[in-house]
């Protein structure tokens, strides 16, 4: 009984818990000068294989960056991502400067470091990034980037950032046949030693990886599909201007949308996400709590998922699954309304 009471208390608490974000992530474009086999965004020179090509105008983004500081549960961190956002370097500098002027304290970006091909160019870009307020960069590097970006460019960028005072986090993805050693041993050991951090982890079978990497080559995740993501969210604007509560796959779907920065303030959209029953269920209850609803609607998604992000992307990429979830929420709302009306009628009669 105590256990049930605890659970009730937990849900009561979570019913009013605001969704909290580790930062604002802006994906300026889904175009990329690379076309990596593991890309969760399916990005390439012509944009996303799935969603098409999109780039947001700088003025629209600057307004969004300024407005987002008013989201009360947003940590003051600004992160610029793509595609490869840095193919439009001057726009990136402009956006970083805007974020710094607005009071974001941690100003970061993700790049494949193609701009590091020569040491002088790497130094020039890293210095300018720092001047615009950038505090750290995530540099993507692994087996799948190798055909498109040279190891020398990545090494140059790591060293240039170090000299300019920009922290770096080297992001490396792996599968069974392409491990950590293969990616790291290609880099200059001095450059690698001078990165501040290396984050390594398995490829998720989402986006292009789901199509191009054999499922048996993808590591099974130890995390499974049981957890929830409420501690790891970022308020994310994708390259179409659509706003999502994360940048780990949900942002690459188009069937369940919350609002677009071209049409309204991100503050309003963040409020909408916070009160959305499906978003709240995913964020606090865990995406696997949607599975019984889908099963009742005749949709059996099985259980072969690497992690919660893989399952989330799968559910929200399917218009059929989303329609079933919407129908469930609508039916729940209707029932709740009827119950309230009945109880009001009873109160009226007894009065």
């Amino acid at each position: 009984m105590d256990h049930i009471a605890d659970l009730d208390a937990r849900w009561e608490f979570l019913a009013t818990m605001p969704i909290r974000y580790n930062g604002l992530v802006v994906e300026t474009t889904n175009r990329c000068n690379a076309k990596c086999g593991m890309c969760y965004q399916s990005a390439g020179p012509r944009g996303s294989d799935v969603l098409g090509s999109a780039t947001i105008q700088t003025d629209v983004l600057k307004r969004c960056i300024r407005e987002a500081v008013e989201v009360p549960t947003l940590t003051p961190r600004f992160h610029l991502a793509g595609g490869e956002a840095f193919i439009h370097l001057n726009e990136c500098f402009d956006l970083f400067r805007t974020a710094a002027d607005c009071g974001y304290l941690d100003i970061t970006g993700t790049t494949n470091a193609y701009w590091g091909n020569s040491t002088s160019r790497a130094t020039q870009v890293a210095t300018q990034l720092r001047e615009c307020g950038v505090t750290s960069l995530e540099i993507s590097w692994d087996y799948w980037h190798m055909p498109f970006v040279s190891a020398k460019a990545v090494s140059n960028a790591l060293l240039a950032c170090r000299d300019a005072g920009v922290d770096t986090n080297l992001r490396v993805l792996t599968t069974r046949s392409h491990g950590l050693s293969e990616a790291l041993s290609a880099l200059d050991p001095i450059a690698m030693a001078r990165t501040n951090r290396i984050s390594s982890g398995p490829v998720f079978p989402t986006g292009r990886a789901a199509k191009t990497i054999p499922r048996e080559d993808i590591h099974a995740s130890k995390s499974g599909i049981g957890g929830a993501c409420h501690a790891t969210l970022n308020l994310t604007v994708n390259s179409f201007g659509e706003v999502f509560p994360c940048c780990a796959g949900f942002d690459q779907t188009k069937n369940y949308l919350f609002g677009n920065i071209h049409n309204e303030s991100i503050v309003i959209i963040a409020e909408r996400i916070n009160s959305d029953p499906i978003a709240r269920t995913v964020v606090f209850g865990g995406v696997s709590s949607l599975l019984p609803i889908l099963k009742r609607a005749g949709i059996d998604l099985g259980d072969d998922y690497s992690n919660i992000c893989h399952l989330c992307w799968t559910i929200f990429s399917s218009d059929k699954s989303v329609a079933a979830l919407r129908a469930h929420v609508d039916a729940r709302r209707q029932r709740a309304l009827e119950d309230v009306l009945k109880s009001l009628e009873v109160t009226e009669v007894s009065a």
Partner: protein
């Protein structure tokens, strides 16, 4: 403003007054509310020492008691007690580090239980040789399920001397339901085959490369960042040393002028309970310390040059 007998708080008032007077940017009457600055101190790192009789310093019960009071202070300071700022309860951590601390595994567990009950994550940082010699205690501690992250420090000599054991240790840790961070020179890890391990490759890991040659190179070439990141925002969290003294960041540990208080003090009597102290800390977080660019030198200690210079400035104030 309440009177205080705490010399540190007095110092901070002087420091805040002097800095504000110098910049003219923030009149003394305009103090930031404690709420704004308190959100920066959601986490605490304990730099522990093991005593000869197998106890840790500060003691587990004193730490547990203080973490409890920090939690109460935090709830009040960020407004949770009044129904505000509930999202600020995320990402709070109690970090435990120090040489040989696994010999006091039961004490660590006691702190972990108390901290997790209040919603803190708990991390333990240990060096690999110690972890190998106390493997049973490490396994016992992790089996209790209260440790959420482990930081493993691997020195080049440990990697060279106990390579295969370290690979096995990393394989085992990589499979646990914990966040794992590895602090090491990468070259020796390549040599002993860590990077070729399938279990290591498949895990979500964070590596913090140690670059033993960097400081020397920086000194030789007088290399210093032309434009360092000034705001202390990302570097701020509470640090508590073995004597129980509290500091606002790693760079200022041991500097008397930066001491916020002691875990034996009531929190309201420390810098955390003092508006002017919190104002100064808030300014450091947003704008960084008042250290002129010309004072920045090539870093020698592994700390950023700005932190080294700030430390120097405060020690100088202390000595005056």
């Amino acid at each position: 403003m309440a009177a205080t007998t705490n010399p540190l708080v007095q110092h901070r008032r002087t420091a805040v007054s002097a800095e504000h007077a110098a910049t003219g940017a923030l009149p003394l009457s305009m103090v930031w509310p404690i709420t704004t600055a308190a959100g920066r101190f959601r986490s605490a790192t304990f730099l522990l020492e093991c005593s000869s009789d197998g106890e840790i310093l500060p003691s587990a019960s004193n730490i547990a008691k203080w973490v409890d009071s920090l939690h109460e202070w935090y709830l009040h300071a960020v407004g949770v007690s009044h129904g505000d700022g509930i999202h600020l309860l995320y990402d709070r951590e109690v970090a435990l580090m120090g040489s040989g601390i696994l010999t006091c595994a039961e004490a660590l567990q006691k702190i972990a239980v108390a901290s997790r009950a209040l919603g803190f994550g708990v991390s333990v940082s240990i060096d690999a040789e110690h972890a190998l010699s106390e493997r049973g205690r490490l396994e016992w501690l992790l089996a209790q399920g209260k440790i959420s992250a482990v930081g493993l420090i691997i020195t080049p000599s440990a990697a060279r001397g106990r390579g295969p054991e370290i690979v096995r240790l990393l394989d085992d840790l990589a499979e646990q339901a914990i966040n794992l961070g590895i602090i090491a020179e990468l070259g020796p890890l390549f040599d002993i085959g860590v990077m070729d391990s399938a279990k290591v490759s498949k895990a979500d890991l964070t590596w913090y490369p140690l670059d033993m040659s960097a400081a020397q190179t920086a000194i030789e070439t007088n290399a210093k960042p032309p434009q360092p990141v000034r705001p202390c925002f990302a570097r701020m969290r509470l640090f508590v040393d073995a004597g129980g003294d509290i500091y606002p960041c790693l760079g200022l540990v041991g500097v008397a002028a930066a001491r916020i208080g002691n875990i034996a003090d009531a929190l309201c009597d420390t810098g955390l309970g003092d508006e002017l102290s919190m104002t100064l800390l808030h300014r450091w977080a947003c704008d960084g310390p008042d250290v002129p660019d010309e004072m920045l030198l090539a870093p020698t200690s592994g700390l950023p040059s700005l932190c080294e210079a700030h430390r120097g400035v405060l020690i100088e104030i202390e000595e005056r």
